[in-house]
């Protein structure tokens, strides 16, 4: 491939010029476990950006309207609402501690003035309504302005309360609680394109819910073996097709993806399509299965492709071809010679997510040392960028990073042994239309924008 040059593809030169926009979160070195961001998600319009953390809290940011008098604050995200979604629980019956960590947030398409999202921890999914209140009624008959009940005998006249404007208040209230349907830990939720149903997946089962009904859920996939000793694989992620409301996919710890069609049977234990890349048996090692485990699966916006993330790579699959992916992008291949220590410090089990840009022309995923990777499918160029406080000057361009794999380390390169494996970027999100990305680096949320934008 011409122009690849020595060990690096040129940074997205004609393509993206990523610049720092904002960073949210505390700067202090001591990170409280509760502050670790566990999920990031833009809503359908991109005006709202939600984060969930290990402490069970949700913070929603809203994009400011472009302001001609302050052109530089164009499209900045500021806090819109924050609430405690889940709290820690203890299941005494099973002697199970239930973490309040928010595993996933998924927005519902907006249908009226209020915004709705689903948030889930390991066991319970909740539907939250976020609504604005900018008017207040004054002049009640039965109570004073401060809320105290008036003495009924003193009320001699009847008046009509009038609505007066008030400072904007954003309220979050739990509208539905979908509980007790999962024996194992929920890893995914996905809203269906019918806007009425959604699925929730745990290690062994997938359930179908109706957004209005909380006391009933249909089991659509069950891979629990009759004898648990025969357990060989678990479900790692699941998602509904963006347009076909009868189709969903789920990925496994063995690196396979199954596409199911709910029209074919009520219980989708038998897949309609089975995606697996053939493995060269001579290259098999102890680590093969572990690193092939898929940590995330995402349909393209077009619905024609899907992308999977395993430990070392991102693969793009054409839904019409089950035999192998159409693209494989190496995220951090240099880690292959570090698998022993990555196994010992459990990093090999880290679950990285991946995402598409709005036009499906680019994909992004995280890595270690607060690095994240972007692959342009059209130009076939890739770039490594870093989310760090050092490059956090307003509108400063991000400099491409390079990891040196051995031999002479050039200036500005970082060697594999110097990478900080505690600084992992597991969660990233791309605005559905614009070139704006949100990157979660432990307890900080970085927002980057494309200069040309």
């Amino acid at each position: 491939m011409a122009g690849a040059g020595g060990g690096g593809c040129p940074a997205g030169s004609n393509d993206f010029q990523w610049c720092f926009s904002q960073v949210k979160g505390a700067i202090d070195e001591d990170v409280a476990e509760a502050d670790i961001i566990s999920t990031v998600e833009f809503n359908y319009s991109g005006d709202l950006l939600a984060t969930g953390d290990k402490g069970g809290r949700v913070v929603i940011f809203q994009r400011e309207q472009e302001n001609k008098s302050r052109p530089h604050s164009r499209g900045e995200y500021n806090v819109y609402s924050t609430f405690q979604s889940h709290e820690p629980e203890f299941d005494y019956l099973k002697s199970l501690e239930i973490e309040e960590k928010i595993n996933k947030i998924r927005w519902l398409p907006q249908q009226n003035a209020a915004h709705f999202l689903l948030s889930t921890n390991d066991k319970t999914i909740k539907l939250w309504k976020i609504s604005e209140r900018d008017k207040r009624a004054e002049g009640y008959n039965l109570k004073d302005e401060d809320g105290r009940l008036r003495d009924p005998f003193r009320i001699t006249a009847l008046r009509v309360p009038i609505l007066k404007p008030m400072d904007l208040m954003v309220e979050a209230s739990p509208r539905r609680i979908f509980a007790n349907a999962h024996t194992y830990h929920i890893n995914s939720i996905s809203v269906n394109s019918d806007h009425e149903t959604y699925l929730s997946a745990d290690d062994l089962r997938i359930n179908l819910w109706h957004l209005e009904i909380t006391d009933r859920s249909f089991n659509i996939v069950d891979i629990k073996p009759a004898n648990m000793e025969e357990l060989t694989e678990v479900i790692t992620a699941a998602e509904f097709h963006p347009h076909q409301c009868n189709v969903f996919v789920y990925s496994s710890s063995k690196g396979t993806i199954r596409l199911c069609d709910m029209r074919s049977s009520a219980l989708c234990d038998r897949h309609s399509k089975f995606f697996e890349e053939p493995e060269d048996p001579s290259s098999r090692s102890f680590f093969s299965e572990i690193i092939s485990s898929i940590s995330d699966v995402k349909f393209s916006h077009s619905g024609r492709y899907m992308m999977t993330r395993d430990y070392l790579s991102v693969k793009v699959w054409d839904l019409n071809m089950e035999s192998r992916p159409v693209e494989t992008h190496q995220v951090h291949e240099y880690l292959r010679s570090k698998l022993c220590s990555l196994y010992e410090n459990d990093c090999i089990f880290d679950k990285f997510e991946c995402c598409w840009n709005g036009s499906d022309s680019a994909i992004m995923t995280g890595s270690y040392n607060n690095f994240f990777r972007m692959f342009d499918r059209d130009t076939r160029r890739d770039v490594t960028l870093e989310a760090s406080r050092e490059s956090s000057k307003p509108r400063a361009s991000l400099k491409p990073r390079k990891v040196c794999t051995g031999g002479k380390r050039k200036k500005d390169e970082i060697s594999v042994d110097s990478l900080d494996f505690n600084k992992k970027i597991l969660h990233t999100a791309w605005h559905p239309a614009d070139n704006v990305i949100a990157v979660a680096a432990t307890n900080n949320l970085y927002i980057f924008q494309d200069k040309i934008n």
């Binding site: 949210k24 502050d35 203890f90 290259s283 299965e289 494989t328 992008h329 291949e333 292959r336 022993c340």
Partner: protein, 113 residues
Amino acid sequence: LAGGPGCDVCYGLVEDTQEKEGILPERAEEAKLKAKYPSLGQKPGGSDFLMKRLQKGQKYFDSGDYNMAKAKMKNKQLPSAGPDKNLVTGDHIPTPQDLPQRKSSLVTSKLAG
């Protein structure tokens, strides 16, 4: 359309040289691991990992033991946990009251301000 050396994108075709380079480091890492932990399971990435994953969150005590101990101690005063609530050894069977309270995160997230 195959990716050339140095380029990270492969279009469905595995380069022979890339594959060979890939085998050696992974196998070397496996040898390193087996040298450190000779008793490591024969089943690579099999049931052991999965069972551990499924059991995440299992803690503290078994409710069967708890009930049996409670019955045994019916006539005795249930020993309190003592100054160190994390100590759950010996005759002391932990009870829900003794469990160190999970600090609930009812503090506003630092992302919000």
